[in-house]
Symmetry: C2
Subunit: 368 residues, 2 copies
């Protein structure tokens, strides 16, 4: 595939770390939430191997945080998701499908409950701010909604624990998976969660102050050599294998949360009020016709920018949503939306890549 | 400035013309409404000169069209904008500021009224779909809202009229500025508007069928040589000089429509109901403190990806939102948000570029 340059502008915002990662040799960007997201420093394959072995710092400032506060904050957050948040606790992070009135997926954020009347919605790539503002205006809710000036660094990989311990002390080891708390470095307090878009373990540091955020970034790299720390980015092959979904790639507004495998986050019987509830009840009763599954494809190169259909016996059985070369499986791994007729069996399929039929196989997510 | 590659994925959608423009030598992309927007084929300067002299076809499929239909369609469209649409006519295009409850800008689309209960909102770079869905859900409106499968080609430049006449016949000459109608080429009917993001004249063809759209694209280039037709893209220098604003560059949610110079589209006294009306009344009574103006800057290179402040006598008088080298003025032209204390005078200012003080001057928009 030919390479093309990215045109920068103010509309495609830089982050507080852009100048640093450019000095560190970033090669590629994508755009996510109207902001630059670095994607490659060396190659996806090299970074995959490094991520599973050592530790990386990722500039994921693109994970914009929509702050919702005020007496109706809980009500508004609940209206946007089918996951029951009535028993939600301060200090917890909640992965939630956001759905529209039809029950279609509009985002899959992590929600941080800071107080009963103060929430942060840490979003995937769609303007949840405008959705929240629309609902609030329509229902006359007493809320304040804005995109917070927060930039996020993800510290990911097996050595992230030792690196973070050196910076924030052993107290950080008490932080459990999908919890957040406040930790101190050089008199600055940071909100840190044990989260991140990889399966290799680690943290996300939510930075409200640019100067101390940049100082922390530099400190990581000052002390990082002994952990073989490198700058990195969410790794498609690793996250596909791990079954971590990417909104806009794997799922869109045309897909409902049942089809995306989110059954455990769909609470239709607990009495909470949210958009699309009636339609999700109807969808559940009727049963779904397609579902996201893993796939393995017998090739080592696939540039996925368009629709790729999967075929079996002259029938279309699904379409490929994400794909990347896995150094572990030595073939392409992917996520595909598969017709229900086929998703409960480990089916083989064929697909056309560059005019040739290539073999593939459906598998579970995560891919093992 | 160093160049970086763009990473493609399904999340950053290609258009039906992507493979064609890549064969035609596109060099740069940006991302706009989660889709690829070509930005340069040769250089902004060369394309500026060509656009003002000949004719270009632009792949502006990124101008996504949000279709709103149903008995409450007019009501919903009106709720989103401060421009009174009560006397709007089928066949007209309406440039409208969309505002949130605070009166902040969230988009500046062109709205096409197709029927009383069928509208298309042709959007700038923010998810108006989600805003519309939120309001509709909050107010229980009877509407159907979705992103239409429409891709747009803009035919821009002084020779666009002759080119379009050759394709669609002399009947196209009857189409007036900011009107749309249906025209036929090879048995296919196309919705065409006399609109476009340049001041050089031309049309936008709204394509609902990919195959006939691609055939039309190829036909343009088959016959285009005598008009010196070239592929192109919205040209920053040309649009800045013309005073055409870019959402995300020149204005954001922190700016209100008065500050963006949209007074003639703010109807506070006509009795129509829209979001943010009370706040816009309050803002008008208090008076604004900043306003978008043109600027000329005495240099020939300025990469605008960050905040650039304008100074006068040790005071910050505004910030630069867009900038490009103008082959006509032989200097940088730009759009800046200027404090009201300074905007009614043709003030000089200084700004720091690469550590040096550079002189600039405030001027009206369009820049002449």
């Amino acid at each position: 595939m030919k390479n093309f340059y990215i045109s920068k502008s103010r509309r495609v915002r830089s982050t507080p770390f852009t100048s640093r990662i450019e000095k560190q040799g970033v090669k590629n960007y994508t755009v996510y939430n109207h902001m630059l997201l670095p994607t490659t420093f060396s190659s996806v394959e090299e970074e995959y191997i490094h991520l599973k072995k050592d530790v990386q710092v990722w500039d994921v400032s693109v994970q914009r945080e929509i702050e919702i506060s005020g007496v109706d904050a809980h009500k508004l957050v609940q209206l946007m998701t089918c996951r029951d948040l009535s028993k939600s606790k301060i200090g917890n992070c909640y992965y939630v499908p956001l759905v529209d009135s039809n029950g279609g997926m509009i985002n899959d954020p992590l929600i941080y409950k800071l107080k009963d009347d103060l929430w942060r919605v840490c979003i995937a790539d769609s303007d949840v701010l405008l959705f929240a503002k629309g609902i609030a205006a329509g229902k006359n809710l007493k809320v304040n909604i804005f995109e917070a000036n927060i930039d996020t660094l993800a510290i990911q990989g097996p050595k992230s624990f030792k690196l973070m311990e050196e910076v924030f002390g052993t107290v950080i080891n008490n932080l459990k998976f999908f919890k957040y708390d406040f930790f101190t470095f050089k008199d600055n307090k940071y909100l840190i969660s044990r989260t991140g878009f990889s399966k290799q373990g680690g943290y996300e540091v939510h930075l409200e102050d640019i100067k101390s955020g940049q100082a922390l970034y530099d400190h990581f790299f000052n002390i990082g050599k002994k952990y073989n720390l490198k700058p990195g980015a969410p790794n498609h092959a690793e996250r596909i294998e791990g079954g971590l979904l990417s909104y806009g790639n794997d799922m869109l507004i045309e897909d409902n949360p049942f089809e995306c495998g989110f059954e455990r986050y769909i609470h239709l019987d607990t009495g909470v009020d949210f958009l699309g509830k009636e339609n999700l009840i109807r969808i559940k009763a009727k049963g779904i016709k397609k579902k996201l599954m893993g796939v393995k494809i017998e090739t080592n190169k696939l540039n996925l920018t368009d629709i790729h259909l999967l075929n079996k016996d002259n029938e279309i059985i699904g379409d490929l949503r994400s794909a990347a070369y896995s150094p572990e499986f030595k073939k392409i791994v992917g996520i595909a939306m598969i017709k229900t007729k086929y998703f409960d069996n480990k089916q083989n399929f064929k697909m056309i890549i560059n005019g040739k039929y290539i073999d593939g196989k459906i598998c579970e997510l995560p891919i093992t």
